[in-house]
C-alpha cells in the first residue's frame, strides 16, 4: 500500500496544527459558529444530533493493520468503544468531544491517516473496487490512480469551495463493484483498439433527491492526461455549477441542464488549454505509484492444500460461511475473505474496539497486514490462503465476526438515520433490527439468496436506497416515520434506479412488506434467478398487487414505461 514520505507526513502534521489552532480560536470565541462551520466540515467534523461526528478518510478503503489498531484505540480513548464504517469506505466516530478532535487527528497522523476533505464542498475521498489488486476480472489495479487523485485533490487551492461536495470513484475491473456510474466523476480503466489502457470518463452520476446515472463524456482518456482532464471538469463545474440552490448544486444538475454534448464541449475546450501543462503525468510518476501496490509474495503452492475441502465437507457452518463470505482470488489457492459487520442486533457497519484489534491481528497473521473497507459496510481480508480459512473462520466466530450473510437480505446497507443524523426524517437502524428479527431463519435467507437492501433516513440518500434491489427511504408524515420502497435498483454495470412501489408504509409494517415482496419472488422465480432478475422479468405490478391489494386498475394506467 502507499507509504508516506516526508512530504505527505508534513502535510498531515501541518493540517493537525492548523485545525488545532482553528478549534482553539473557535473555543476562544475568535471564530463564530458560522465561520468555524466550513472549516470543521473540511475536516469531516459534523455537529450531529447528540455530539460531533468525525469522519476519517480511508483512501480507497485500504487500511493497514496498524491503522485499524489506531482506529480501535481512538474508539476506546475518545469514543464509546466502537466505530462505524460507511458506504464510502470511510470510518465515522459518533461521540468524540470537540476539544479532543485535534488530538484524535494527531493520533491519526501518526499512522498516516487524516480527516481531510471528508466533508464540505470539496473533493472527497476517492473510492474504488474493494477487490482491487486481487480480482480476476481486473484489467489493471486502480489504486495507483486513486492515490494520484488523492494527492492532486488534497488542499487543491482552486477547488476547496465548490458549489457542492464532489466524489470520484475509479475501477479497473470489468464488473463494477464501486458504483462508479453514480459518482460525480466515475473512471473505468479500459483498453482501446490499439491495446492501450486508459480511462472511460463518466460525469454527473449521483443519488440524492435527483438521481442520475452518469453519461460517459470521453470513452478513452490517456493516462497521462488524467489530472488535466479532472482539473478541466472541476474548473467548468466550479465556474458554472449552481450555487443558488443546494439541491441543484451537484455537477449532475449542471451536466443535465447543459446537456451532455454542451458540457463535454466546455470541458474539452478547457482541457485544450491545460492538457500539456505541468498537470501532465509522466510515466515515471505512474510507475512510482504502481510500485506501492505490488502483489505480496504469494505461496505458489497454496492450491495444493486439501484441508480446506475436507473442512468444508465435514463442517456445515463453515461450509455455509465459505459459500457466502469468500470472493474469488486471481491466485489459485487464495481467497478474499469478507468479514460481515452485519451480525443481528448490530447497527450495520459497526465494529467494536475489541473486534477491530482482533481483525488487525488476523490480518497480520493471515493476510499480509491489509484490510479493505467495502461499499456494503463490511471488511475484507484480501489475501488469505485456503489452508488458513478454517482457522480464520474459527477465530472470527469467536468475536461474532463470522455471520454467513454476505449478499443476503440481512447484509443491508443502512445510513445512521434518526439515531445519529440531524438531517434524518426517520430511523434506519431500527428498521435494520426489525428486518433482522423478522428474517432470522438462516435457511430461508440462503434460499432467497442474493438481494441488496439499501436504506436511507432521508432524501440525501447516504444509504444509496435508489440502487438497492429493494430500496427503503425514510420519510416523515405529520411527524411520524414512514418508509417509501423502491424495487429494481442496481449500482453495478447494469446501473439503474429503483422504481417506486407505491405509497409509503408505516414503520411497523416494513419487514412485513418485505416478506410479501419475497413471497412474490419465491412464487415466480425461475431456475437461478435472483430477486432482481425476477423483478426485471415480471415488472413491478405483481409486487404492487401483493403489497397494496385494494388499489387495482388505477395504478396500471400510470405505469407508462
Amino acid at each position: 500500500m502507499y507509504k508516506y514520505d516526508n512530504y505527505d507526513q508534513t502535510i498531515v502534521d501541518e493540517r493537525v496544527a492548523q485545525f488545532r489552532d482553528q478549534t482553539a480560536r473557535f473555543l476562544a470565541g475568535q471564530l463564530s459558529e458560522e465561520e468555524f462551520r466550513p472549516l470543521r466540515l473540511m475536516n469531516g467534523l459534523y455537529i450531529q444530533r447528540y455530539a460531533p461526528m468525525l469522519r476519517v478518510a480511508i483512501p480507497y478503503g485500504l487500511l493497514s493493520s496498524q491503522q485499524l489498531r489506531m482506529l480501535a484505540h481512538i474508539s476506546r480513548k475518545y469514543d464509546k468503544h466502537y466505530a462505524h464504517f460507511s458506504t464510502r469506505q470511510n470510518v465515522q466516530f459518533n461521540w468524540p468531544a470537540l476539544e479532543t478532535v485535534p488530538d484524535i487527528l494527531a493520533d491519526l497522523a501518526r499512522v498516516e491517516m487524516h480527516a481531510i476533505q471528508t466533508s464540505g464542498n470539496d473533493i472527497r475521498n476517492t473510492t474504488s473496487d474493494q477487490f482491487a489488486g486481487i480480482a480476476v476480472d481486473e484489467l489493471e489495479d486502480p489504486r495507483p490512480y486513486c492515490e494520484i487523485i488523492r494527492q492532486w485533490s488534497t488542499f487543491h487551492p482552486e477547488f476547496s469551495f465548490l458549489p457542492r461536495k464532489f466524489k470520484i470513484a475509479v475501477t479497473g475491473a470489468v464488473h463494477d463493484r464501486a458504483a462508479v456510474k453514480v459518482h460525480d466523476i466515475g473512471l473505468f480503466l479500459v483498453k482501446n483498439d490499439a491495446g492501450e489502457i486508459g480511462f472511460n470518463v463518466v460525469v454527473g452520476g449521483g443519488l440524492g433527491r435527483t438521481p442520475f446515472i452518469g453519461p460517459s463524456i470521453r470513452p478513452f482518456l490517456e493516462k497521462q492526461h488524467l489530472l488535466s482532464y479532472l482539473e478541466a471538469i472541476l474548473r467548468v463545474y466550479n465556474r458554472f455549477g449552481r450555487r443558488d440552490n443546494i439541491y441543484r448544486a451537484r455537477i449532475k444538475i449542471l451536466v443535465n441542464d447543459l446537456g451532455k454534448e454542451e458540457f463535454t464541449r466546455q470541458v474539452e475546450a478547457e482541457w485544450n488549454h491545460i492538457k500539456d501543462s505541468v498537470l501532465k503525468l509522466d510515466q515515471q510518476e505512474i510507475e512510482r505509484m504502481k510500485s506501492f501496490f505490488t502483489a505480496p509474495d504469494y505461496d505458489q503452492n497454496a492450491a495444493e492444500d486439501n484441508s480446506f475441502e475436507a473442512a468444508e465437507k465435514s463442517n456445515k457452518a463453515f461450509a455455509t460461511w465459505v459459500k457466502r463470505n469468500l470472493f474469488v482470488h486471481k491466485i489459485a489457492g487464495y481467497k478474499a475473505v469478507i468479514i460481515s459487520l452485519k451480525a443481528p442486533g448490530i447497527a450495520p457497519g459497526d465494529a467494536t474496539d475489541e473486534q477491530m484489534d482482533h481483525i488487525a491481528d488476523l490480518a497480520d497473521h493471515y493476510s499480509y497486514g491489509e484490510i479493505v473497507v467495502t461499499h456494503d459496510q463490511n471488511l475484507v481480508l484480501p489475501n488469505v490462503k485456503q489452508a488458513d480459512l478454517f482457522d480464520l473462520w474459527q477465530k472470527l466466530s469467536a468475536k461474532h465476526l463470522a455471520t454467513a450473510n454476505i449478499g443476503l437480505l440481512t447484509d443491508m446497507i443502512c445510513c445512521p438515520g434518526l439515531d445519529f443524523c440531524s438531517l434524518a426524517n426517520a430511523g434506519s437502524i431500527p428498521i435494520a433490527n426489525q428486518i433482522n428479527e423478522k428474517f432470522d431463519d438462516i435457511d430461508y435467507l440462503h434460499d432467497i439468496g442474493d438481494i441488496k437492501i439499501k436504506m436511507s433516513g432521508c432524501m440525501n440518500a447516504c444509504g444509496h436506497h435508489h440502487v438497492g434491489h429493494i430500496g427503503i427511504l425514510g420519510v416523515s408524515k405529520k411527524g411520524e416515520e414512514f418508509y417509501q420502497l423502491t424495487l429494481g435498483g442496481s449500482s453495478e454495470n447494469d446501473a439503474c434506479l429503483g422504481e417506486r412501489l407505491g405509497p409509503a408504509v408505516a414503520k411497523k409494517e416494513v419487514a412485513n412488506v418485505i416478506a410479501r415482496l419475497l413471497d412474490v419472488y419465491v412464487e415466480q422465480r425461475q431456475e437461478e434467478e435472483r430477486f432482481l432478475d425476477t423483478f426485471r422479468r415480471i415488472g413491478i405490478k405483481p409486487f404492487k398487487d401483493r403489497v397494496y391489494p385494494k388499489q387495482p386498475v388505477k395504478e396500471e394506467a400510470c405505469a407508462n414505461h
Binding site: 465561520e35 482552486e158 477547488f159 476547496s160 466550479n238 450555487r243 505541468v278
Partner: protein, 163 residues
C-alpha cells in the same frame, strides 16, 4: 485603507466603489469601479484617468475582461460569502491564462483561513472583512510548507521534487 499586500500590512489609496450612485460624483483618487460600469463608460474614463481598476464577482466571466487587461493596475475579485469559490478560478485564469501582471485583490468576505488558498491562486492583496485583525490573518499564509499540486504560484508539484 489598511490592506495586506505581499504578506505585509500596508496602507493603500485605492478606494472601492461597490455601487455607482449616479447622483453623486465618483470619489477622488484611485477608484476600483464595478466592471460593468467601467465597460460602459470606458471612453470617458480612459480620457479622464491615468490608472484604472475594476472589480468583478463570480457572475462575470474573466473572458469579458481580457481585451482591457492592459488598462488595469488592479483587479479586485469579490467573495460575497466565504463559500463562494468561483473567484479562485477567476484568479488563476487571469494570472495563468491571460497573463495579468497587476495587482489581484480579494475583497468581500476575506478571512484568515482562506488566505493560503487565495495566494496560491495568484491573489496578492487582500482587503479583509472589516472586523478582522490583519496581524492575526498574516498567520494564515504559513499554514502549509508543502503543496501537492501546482497552481498560480511557483510551486512545483510534489512528485517532481521526489526524484
Amino acid at each position: 485603507m489598511r490592506i495586506i499586500k505581499d504578506k505585509k500590512i500596508i496602507d493603500d489609496d485605492w478606494s472601492l466603489v461597490r455601487d455607482i450612485d449616479s447622483s453623486a460624483p465618483l470619489p477622488d483618487g484611485n477608484v476600483i469601479l464595478p466592471f460593468m460600469y467601467w465597460q460602459e463608460n470606458r471612453d470617458a474614463l480612459l480620457k479622464q484617468n491615468a490608472t484604472h481598476a475594476v472589480w468583478i464577482d463570480g457572475d462575470i466571466e474573466t473572458e469579458k475582461l481580457v481585451s482591457y487587461l492592459e488598462y488595469y493596475a488592479l483587479i479586485a475579485l469579490d467573495f460575497p460569502v466565504f463559500k463562494d469559490g468561483r473567484s479562485y478560478t477567476h484568479a488563476r485564469l487571469l494570472r495563468e491564462r491571460y497573463g495579468f501582471k497587476g495587482d489581484l485583490r480579494a475583497i468581500g468576505e476575506v478571512l484568515r483561513d482562506q488566505l493560503f488558498f487565495l495566494q496560491r491562486c495568484g491573489i496578492d492583496s487582500y482587503q479583509l472583512r472589516e472586523d478582522k485583525d490583519a496581524e492575526d490573518a498574516l498567520k494564515g499564509f504559513e499554514d502549509f510548507t508543502v503543496c501537492y499540486q501546482a497552481a498560480a504560484d511557483d510551486v512545483v508539484p510534489v512528485y517532481k521534487s521526489r526524484r
